[in-house]
């Protein structure tokens, strides 16, 4: 359960938004909308804990996020604009490292099946720099299949994805919601999950 009350954020000396309040339960999907520069990415990053809000609180499972600290981090996955993968390493190596860092050590077969689902079978052992943009994005997204964290915070997850991958992404989000996950996202492309009503939050 994510509860946000009276959240306000500044960038530089300007107030981006204020008085923001909402609550999300398991299985809920929230889209953050607004024009460019209105603070969508800032809101997402504030929810992750990168940015201290200028006012308001964020509560996860009833406790304030500052108190939970590392326990809160264990429960979130953040996907930003950058892929967060190392070009010099292979897709497999990248997955091993990112999973271990986020608290779930995996073996090769789990990693391979995740990459297979992402459509990268046969490319697991290439250094990532040999892959295309879209393929690299898929490697980045493979984390979502391995990490069991309930709260997904996705900033424009569909960037650089082709139609097939977009469909896959929507499927993955749907499955995650069925598994009692929560997903918050922003997007410039249409993103709909079958059978789920998307809540929308507009920043003005």
């Amino acid at each position: 359960m994510l509860e946000v009350s009276d959240l306000a954020c500044m960038r530089g000396e300007q107030q981006l938004f204020s008085g923001l309040s909402f609550a999300l339960k398991s299985g809920e999907l929230l889209q953050v909308q607004g024009e460019n520069g209105r603070g969508k990415t800032t809101l997402l990053r504030t929810l992750c804990g990168y940015i201290q809000p200028s006012a308001g609180d964020i509560h996860w499972q009833g406790k304030p996020v500052q108190e939970l600290d590392e326990d809160y981090f264990a429960d979130i996955i953040y996907l930003g604009h950058l892929n967060a993968i190392k070009d010099e390493l292979t897709a497999l190596e990248n997955l091993h490292i990112s999973s271990a860092l986020s608290g779930c050590t995996i073996n090769d077969s789990i990693a391979k099946s995740a990459l297979k689902r992402m459509g990268l079978r046969g490319r697991e052992t290439f250094p990532v720099k040999l892959l295309s943009q879209g393929q690299r994005r898929r490697v980045a997204l493979a984390r979502l299949l391995i990490n069991k964290a309930p709260l997904w915070i996705l900033d424009e997850p569909l960037t650089a994805l082709d139609v097939g991958a977009v469909g896959l992404m929507q499927e993955m989000i749907g499955e995650h919601l069925l598994n009692s996950g929560i997903v918050i996202f922003t997007t410039h492309q249409p993103l709909e999950v079958a059978g789920v009503a998307t809540r929308r939050l507009t920043l003005t």
């Binding site: 500044m10 960038r11 530089g12 000396e13 300007q14 201290q52």
Partner: protein, 245 residues
Amino acid sequence: MAINMFKYAAPSTFYGLAGKLIPVFAWPAAILFCIGMYIGFFVAPTDAVQSEAYRIIFIHVPASILSMFLYLIMAGYAALGLIFNTRLSSMMATALAPTGALFAFISLWTGALWGKPMWGAWWVWDARLTSELILLFLYLGFIALQSSIEDPRRADRAGALLAIVGSVNVPIIYFSVKWWNTLHQGSTVKLSGTSMHIAMQQAMFTMFAALWLYAVAITLLRVRSIILERERNTQWVTELVEIKQ
């Protein structure tokens, strides 16, 4: 006089208070400076060992002490800003830095002016002068860091962390330099004996007070301009008489 501390913690109210306080510090500073210089250069007797050249210490010593003192105050304000998230504290730290750096520079320069007639060299690697040089580098680092960061929040907080780490290091640096100085048998810049003539003490103290008052006045002036720049988009600034003209 009960001042409501929190009222003046907001940049908007502090701006007005600072403006009123500047002349309260600036005028006494100017007067004391003149008195101090007069005593130091005309009233105080000629030193037995160092003759007339020593008089530069009336600027050198207060400048040195203040440069160190101001660094600690700057670090203190910066720490307050970091811990309590008060913007005004961080602005004060930013406002103090150039003055502290100036005093460090003056200390070095007057040290050189003193050294030349004494030892024939424009610079001596005395422990105190060397530490003063390093202090100047610490100030310049703080100023450089803050000017390279565009986001004012990040600039405040990064500067604060640097200032705090710097102030923890200052005693370590001073101790190391002192040790290094004894190892290499460097010269020591000293006053002639510990007992100073009364006029010398008066001059020293007056100049110290003058420089301190000057530091307060100029910092208040600087912080006002920082406030204006940082708050330029707020209503109270756009409504100020100075801006409307």
